[in-house]
Subunit: 180 residues, 2 copies
Amino acid sequence: MNQWRAVSQKSVFKAKLFNVKEIVFRNKNGIEKIHHIAERNTVVSVFPLTNAYDIYLISEYRYMLGKIALEAIAGHVDKKESAIAAAKRELKEEAGISANQLEEIARIEMSGSVFKNKAHLFLAKGLEFGETDLDDDEEISVVKMPLEQAVEKVMTGEINHASSMIGILMLDKLRKEKKL
Amino acid sequence: MNQWRAVSQKSVFKAKLFNVKEIVFRNKNGIEKIHHIAERNTVVSVFPLTNAYDIYLISEYRYMLGKIALEAIAGHVDKKESAIAAAKRELKEEAGISANQLEEIARIEMSGSVFKNKAHLFLAKGLEFGETDLDDDEEISVVKMPLEQAVEKVMTGEINHASSMIGILMLDKLRKEKKL
């Protein structure tokens, strides 16, 4: 299948939210090459949708991007936590929303190489609204808009965060196919 | 805007394809916290489409994922290279395709935090076919299929690579809106 085989790997750097691994590959001629990958815990993104097809997104200042970004509600899956439990928790913490129904619509690999990170996308329906429970360092605004408008923002590039784009485009397609 | 201000940053690990940066943040009370981010060069993904709405994808064994993945043609933007030049180069190298027309359809942030990586997505039209020019360690099959079928594979999860999903869903939407 692949002439290069991994012969060893070790962790060479640990951050709070990711690890860097060094992997040694060897081919049939005994030639070796080294690759590094950075590996992050699985994340979840949640797309709460009302019966009137309004969607809730969040607006948050992203230091890494140097801008306020409009994104789906999202966060890491904690240790020993299931993806659906993380989705439920983030939905409540970030947007104060409880959902009667959480349906996984996609499991994504954010990259095929170099940066390893899985994302599980959930549709949330049957919404009830309460208080948020933000981390100390989270400054978030919840934004409600018609799904159509979110789709437009994806197509024009105003929403350009990868997993948020995927969830919104998938919901649009499911709605057009009368599956929502 | 944000009570935490970055007061210093330094590079703490360098791999061939990414760097790890350590950033110190301080709030108004003088409390500090440290974040690490991994930063990778910009990538391009290219979606070649025929007049009959067939799309070309690639099938490649991805060690990091432990599977053969069906993805868009993609690669890193080299130093001093424009994104469109990288798209043109990868299209030729990986699929042996030259395109009369390359149109940027999206600029994506693959993540809002932790893993910094931009992706530029290009639609390629006016296709001409020649020889591929693969790197020594690339083992790639080019796969042609109707755009509809690629969309179906995204919706069922068979194609689950983030930027590939986005490009395919955007092309589907543009086609439905008679913009393709």
